[in-house]
Amino acid sequence: MTDTSPTLRLEGVTRRYGRKVVLDGISHSFTKGLTLLTGPSGAGKSTLLRLIATAEKPTAGRLHWNGEPLPAARSALRRELGYAPQAVELPMELTAREFGLHMAALKGLRANEADAQFRLLLEGVGLAADANGRIATYSGGMRRRLIFAQALLGAPRLLALDEPTAELDSESRERIHALINRAAQSAIVIMTTHLSDGVAAAATAVLRVEAGALTPARAGLAA
């Protein structure tokens, strides 16, 4: 029987900004389940997520998606990616539903199925009642939940989530944690967080990003 679990491998990945080395030769294999990235602010957690989400290219080293190296496998990775960065320049004049349908089109999803799935996702993050409200009228927390919801469109097998629960109230955090835990049953979920509650117990790995290195923050985890 063939193992169809997704795999993501980083091989000597380095990222520099000018002279500043943010990530220095990181190697790690991610498999199905939830991986938390922790570490101090500015340590490179978001940079690592952007590299994984192919929003940036590494200065050196490479990524492998399901055994295939990038950039050859970039399109394949992007087809199975859900990405929720910390901040997005949201199109304020659109409604949440219109934005979701636009993101679904970019992901190549069927419009009617995407519409039905996005309604469910909005319900999951507690935005169903505001689905037809313009994003401009949303609070900061509602926008963050919308960014998270669009990442789950199309059942991605790789989810890169940059502090998806920051600034959220406890009820919203629980809703999002439930969705993350469900997604982690079939996908690689990599999430940056400063918080240790909620999802930490369900995490299969906790990694610390600091001084350009990636190290296990919980005993028994292989880097």
């Binding site: 520099r16 900004y17 000018g18 002279r19 500043k20 943010v22 978001s46 940079t47 952007r50 989400a53 192919t54 929003a55 940036e56 399109s75 992007r78 087809r79 990616l81 990405y83 929720a84 960065p85 901040a87 997005v88 320049e89 949201l90 199109p91 304020m92 004049e93 659109l94 219109e98 934005f99 349908l101 636009h102 993101m103 089109a105 970019l106 992901k107 190549g108 419009a111 313009r134 960014i147 669009q150 990442a151």
Partner: protein
Amino acid sequence: MSAVALSCARTSLTRYGRSAGLWILLLVAPVAARFMIAGRGAHNSVISVSGQVPWLTSPVLGMELGVVIATLLLPLAFIYLRSNITRRQPWQVEEPSPGSRIAIAYGRWLADLALLAGVLAATTVAGVFLAMLMMPLREVDPLWITLTLWAIAAPPLAMVASLRILFDARRWTRGALGEVLFFVFWMGSLVLVMAGDHAQGYAAAMADLDGFMSPLAHGLHGDSNFTIGGGEITAGAPAIHLDVIGGVLNDGYLAARLTWLAIAALVPLAAGLVHLPHVVGKTRKTPGWLKFLEPGAAKPADPKAREARPGALPWLTLLACEIRLIASGRLTRLAMLAVAIAGWFLPYAKATGPAAMLLLVFAATAHAGRTEQGGLLALTRTGFLSPWARRIAFVAAGTLLALAMSGAGIGHALMAGDTAPLIQALAMGAGTSLAAITLAALTRGATTPRLVLLIAWYFYLSWGGGP
């Protein structure tokens, strides 16, 4: 690919449709046309030939409307597309998506094209209405108004939409360089056509992107004594008959207009192919010989530092702060110093005055664009000095910087009893700063003030201190 392009076009059009700016843009061309088309007894006209106004026919009216759009309205259209809401795209999630960059570029281009076609349609309707007011009804021919107007104005408008997509594809042209390049493109297209030999045929029509010279030259029969834009009309001079239809149907003209449309349609393909993703941090190393332009290392914090107390002269502190922020960066300060020193050797009106204004345009619009962002404004409203105080300080700081850069030129002139450079520097500094902060406050960015002031700078440069 088509689903991605359609989604981008649909969302962009939805966003345009929900912004008040769209309706203003749709009104600009018809309103401008109303004031620029000369009726009988007019003292000036969009086009005048040897002091004579063209006899108003439907094709002439269409051509005059086309001239208004292809000259004056191109920068406005670019500013609108460039600084409009749809420029702010969710690139953070779009760029890592599997959606094709070419499809995204075409989707956005189609939306921009539809918007500009709306401007042309509104101008066409206004043109027919104007014709009914200014001409005998039996002579009004909507078909010829439409054909001449669209043949002239559609290709340059399509190129504007294409350039905005192309400039958004590359990191450097997403900023100030994009506005400079558009300004060069716009001025270049006008200069090229005005300086040409007004020949006929496909090649000549291809050199005429703005599209009005070929039909105009056909009707002039070699008379090159014509004026575009506000030409004086000699009192009592008879109207001149222009054969615009002959010019439009002339050999190669329509083929050249279609070729320009085809070129414009290919630009989004190039934009998609050369697209570079946005970057969050600085990725390039500064070459060693330019290291001196980099900000130096921060001073270490003093553990004995006292808590900051309110200044005795908050207005003066604000003014000093604005001067420092406008003239931020070592490169800007070095360039300003170079202009100030050059004032000892070079004429003020033709050299250092325009150089000082150009520097001030870039420095002032960059700072104004940064400080008029919504989030920062909300924060500064809670401060001791209101955003209005800062805006006044900004204008004062810009004026002082203009005076500082012009000091040598002013000194030279004053010693010779000439106060003109002093007045020019004051007017240039205050005018530039005031326009920069006003336009930045209205548009919440640096794009509009920069492009408008670049056009103003060109006129200042051409004026060269007057007669």
